[in-house]
Symmetry: C2
Subunit: 635 residues, 2 copies
């Protein structure tokens, strides 16, 4: 079925059953790659087909998928992300998270497009993949180690200083529901608890090394041409230059001015001390160098070194915008050293910085409102702005100690446990904590939170300001009319829908959201992506066929959630967003609930879903998802 | 609103009111071109917005639109078709027909992207457009002339031997419901009675001449590169070479072998004497030279000279496949001289050869079955195979004489007039006569007949054999699975839907169906089209945005029909196709009615239409058709 020497992919998957300790290499037909591309496409295909609805995400029935795509490993900047997916222990939905760095190209070069891990080991193990061969190795001696220790230990024992390693820290071992998977202890597949799934399988790490490149591309000259074009042109794009200079931390200042910097658990949108946690100040204070990902010249990632008493190790990487805001303004904290320290704790123990920050801010608000007291917190005074409270609580979370054990379940479950109206302050959609983008000032972001297949997420579609001015790049996406960031009309719904297909396509292909327009830092255009896929595969795809592949993956993930019992009522936002911002430049601004509900219904109709958000047979058949129709409409 | 010097279009429309004899030049904003592109897109926009439902298509309230597109006038082969649209007097639906040749580039170069003719003149007139100026001129002296006479007369009186002229013949004047518009008396906007609309307005002709080129393109170098690529490559494509050598007549032999050559009013699918009317024989007998359209090297159009007693004038062009089959096998006739003569009568008097041929075959079957007798036919013996009967009846139709006056209304109305079960033999969908493609051997063609917005039409989507093998070009269209020509499953429905968007896009852009893959004669690919539009406009479109523009036009046309009262029950086929072919290689083959109805319903769901085939608000809003929602869902 697979051509002897396919272009763009190996045609081989590694299937690992940790219960039986068996390894299988399977050949996969080209048609599957054509329809699903990789990443989210392949992962949602595997999970929909293979997971029985209702399984425990932390049980051996769950499967953990590491997926590259047909363009992973090309030298194009930004095309380097590993997509990790499983049923999420945080949300109970289809779960997915992506990480940059170097792991994905290394995995693909080593001979496998995809690794599927199923079952569970009794004792800790890790997986070692080299040049198309794989081995399950004991990891008893690694259990309990931080991510950095794990990475160093494995490299030493394999005598492979350049192995690429994805691993969990102690938080993943302890099944913190928002535990992440760290690659080289600084690139995080952060969200949705993929690290807890790994922990539940007693899989401490996956190490990969290749001595060559197993995969070939159809038109390598063309790929090099595009890279050259990128290198010649990215500095003409002010957004890319600024991203290179300040990283994502550049967002703090403008969002604060705009009144959409999440502050004090989303009570307000501006923070008095925002300047202290800004990218400009970060660059002048704790920044020591910049890092980047495979083949990318932008290098947007900060390496930081904090000062006493909050020393930090630059090798863990520094806090990015989401982390700065969730441990900073969201908790009322303005000390970059403290934030960098929190970032390091998260990366060392392996938890998502967004969920962790939101969990701390949630606890602070409950404490200030008297819903919880120091009795529950083990004596901690959890007031907004308390740096010590924040760091201590974070440690308790990652170690599942005391009240931290409650928050390690995520704010939704914590609120249920606490009761007393705590749910009102639990900022989540489908149990997934809200990222650091205030939907009251860019309402399309609210729509993507509600309609994301993985719970609240800020990288499902370009944010509203991208749609305010019609550019060439929006033209390619079929968007011809500017739409105001506050509008919640059908133009906005369409923009968010098309935007979700576009960014979803990037997740099918394992692409960094920053490199492609209409992201403000974007350099390459949607039509470049068509060229890239064709240069990699020789298939002759178009943006139409690629968007349809993305729609296929989007509907698979949605169908997965429908089978898990999710329905229209779950596609909403925390009540707080329907009430006015309490302070900041957009004080009083709110989302109208009735308008929002109407927009969600319109989204369903545009998506080809019924009134409950269930994909219709017509949409599923259109996408070639016959097996989903059978499952969703059986009996 | 329009850039001072836009790329790809003039930004100017000419609006002609023949009732008041007023001419208006209006500026049109770039956004409109971006969303509607031209051709079908612009025409359906104008007609939906401006025509009141229920108007008489032959009354002054109807409007006749001549539309070019944003790529018309580029030097790309095949990009030269003029789209003519109005409410169809044959079907009562949105009506549209396209013609190749030289008129469209000339019109666009002269300064107008679109001409809209409304109202009606009392006396015959013609329109004269030169270098951005227009004039209504008396045509009393032209009334009653054939198309060739009209063209020659106008050129003489304007002293413009190179003017490009579209005109009607006597049939259009007499409001034959399938009267066409002839360009240079050999390129026909044939179907749906656009010539009758022109006749009802007493508009005998439109003449155009330019002395320069009013429009510029964004990247002329790129356009020339594509032309060069085309010229270097088209001879490597066997389908294109064969099309160049034999024209569409090449289809007679293979379709006859295949059992899908419509014969004896669609009773069977093979014709004993097919070889006598084949492209091979045509080339050896009556062919004298080949002609082509603007900028196209393929030159697929035959010039023929018949022998006594059926002499023909080569300047009228020769019969193409549809004409050969409708006057040949469909009527049981195997004499190419006779067929060429019928072709000339149609072109000189200005009627559609398909509808005319089907009308004659219909009458022949009625006669043979005794449903009509020589009393009604004025003594004519209308047996299948009667060359004299066919030619005489055709003359009676184009002149509306005797029984010809009945058939000049089209087979549907004729059958109603005749009664006595005649409807069973009236081969039409929505009153539009079936073209020469037998859906029982390629069932997707049946779907496009039923779901075409203009009634039965064979150029709404690629035919089934195109979908039997997955090529690069189908990959670009998002079709990844081969589907058998006889299958009526969801793969087929999807293929036809995507195929209708693709060929509909070609009608938005005024492109010949032959030059682009997956047509068997195709040379350019869908991705080439993206390059062409971008080279013309500089917009940065993608195949996604172009397909969405086509979907916009498709839904506009559908919405037009919904407003006219068309619904699900009208999306069907003549009963004959649900019964077995009576003879030929596919004897006994039929379409299953229940399966077909199910496929139509699935098509609706894929299209985003409700159970009655009415576009949902979600689909309309997605496409930015707010004004259509208002109209369709008012009150």
């Amino acid at each position: 079925m697979v051509p002897v020497l396919p272009y763009g992919f190996n045609g081989r998957w590694l299937r690992v059953d940790l219960s039986s300790k068996s390894l299988k290499i399977i050949d996969v037909p080209e048609e599957l790659y054509k329809e699903y591309l990789g990443g989210r496409g392949i992962a949602s295909y595997i999970l929909f087909k293979e997971l029985k609805p209702g399984i425990d995400p932390l049980g051996p029935e769950n499967k953990l998928v590491f997926a590259t795509s047909v363009i992973t490993g090309t030298p194009i900047p930004g095309v380097n992300r590993i997509v990790v997916a499983a049923k999420s222990p945080l949300t109970g939905t289809y779960g997915e998270s992506e990480a940059g760095g170097f792991f994905a190209p290394e995995l693909k070069y080593s001979g496998f497009d995809v690794v599927v891990v199923e079952g569970a080991s009794e004792k800790p193990v890790y997986l070692w993949i080299r040049d198309g061969r794989a081995e399950i190795r004991d990891a008893t001696h690694l259990w309990g180690l931080t991510t950095k220790e794990t990475v160093e230990e494995i490299k030493k024992e394999l005598r492979e200083p350049f192995a690429r390693i994805g691993c969990i820290g102690p938080a993943g071992e302890k099944l913190v529901r928002f535990a992440n998977i760290m690659f080289e202890h600084r690139y995080a597949a952060g969200r949705g608890g993929m690290g807890a799934v790994m922990g539940s399988k007693k899989l401490k790490a996956i190490a990969v090394k290749t001595s060559g490149r197993s995969v070939r591309f159809y038109d390598e000259k063309k790929l090099v041409e595009i890279v050259k074009w990128f290198n010649d042109n990215w500095k003409n794009q002010p957004g890319a230059v600024s991203r290179s200079q300040y990283g994502t931390a550049e967002l703090v200042t403008p969002l604060n001015k705009d009144g959409t910097l999440p502050t004090l658990n989303f009570r307000g949108g501006s923070f008095n001390d925002a300047v202290k946690v800004s990218g400009e100040v970060l660059n002048k204070t704790i920044l020591v160098s910049k890092s980047g990902c495979f083949a990318c010249p932008i290098r947007c990632k900060p390496d930081v070194k904090g000062e006493k008493p909050y020393e930090t190790d630059p090798s863990y990487g520094g806090p990015e915008y989401e982390t700065i805001t969730s441990f900073g303004p969201l908790c009322g904290i303005s000390d970059l050293n403290v934030i960098a320290r929190a970032n390091q704790i998260c990366n060392a123990y392996g938890v998502d910085t967004i969920s962790a920050g939101v969990a701390v801010a949630f606890a602070m608000e409950l404490f200030e409102r008297g819903i919880i007291t120091s009795q529950e917190t083990g004596g901690l005074e959890l007031r907004f702005g308390s740096t010590e409270g924040m760091l201590r609580l974070l440690e308790m979370i990652v170690k599942r100690e005391g009240f931290g054990n409650v928050l390690a379940e995520g704010v939704k479950r914590a609120a249920e446990f606490i009761g007393r109206g705590a749910e009102k302050y639990a900022m989540h959609v489908k149990s997934r904590e809200i990222p650091m983008h205030e939907p009251r000032g860019k309402v399309g972001v609210g729509l993507q939170y509600a309609l994301s297949p993985i719970g609240a997420d800020h990288v499902q579609a370009p944010h509203d300001p991208s749609f305010e001015r019609i550019t060439q790049h929006l033209t390619a996406l079929g968007l011809t009319r500017p739409v105001n960031r506050l509008a919640l009309n059908h133009e906005k719904v369409r923009a968010v829908y098309y935007g979700m297909l576009w960014w979803g396509l990037e997740d099918c292909l394992g692409i960094c959201k920053f490199v492609f327009t209409p992201h403000s830092a974007g350099v390459l255009t949607p039509n470049h992506l068509v060229e890239i896929v064709n240069a990699a595969t020789g298939w002759g795809v178009s943006l139409w066929s690629l968007m349809k592949a993305s729609e296929r993956a989007f509907n698979l993930a949605r169908a997965f959630n429908v089978c898990e019992g999710f329905a229209g009522k779950d596609d909403t936002l925390p009540q707080r967003f329907f009430e006015g911002l309490e302070f900041g430049a957009r004080k009083g601004q709110r989302i109208d609930k009735a308008e929002f509900d109407k927009a969600v219904k319109l989204f369903y109709e545009i998506a080809g879903w019924d009134e409950e958000g269930k994909p219709t047979p017509g949409k599923l058949y259109e996408l070639g998802l016959d097996y989903v129709v059978e499952e969703l409409y059986k009996g």
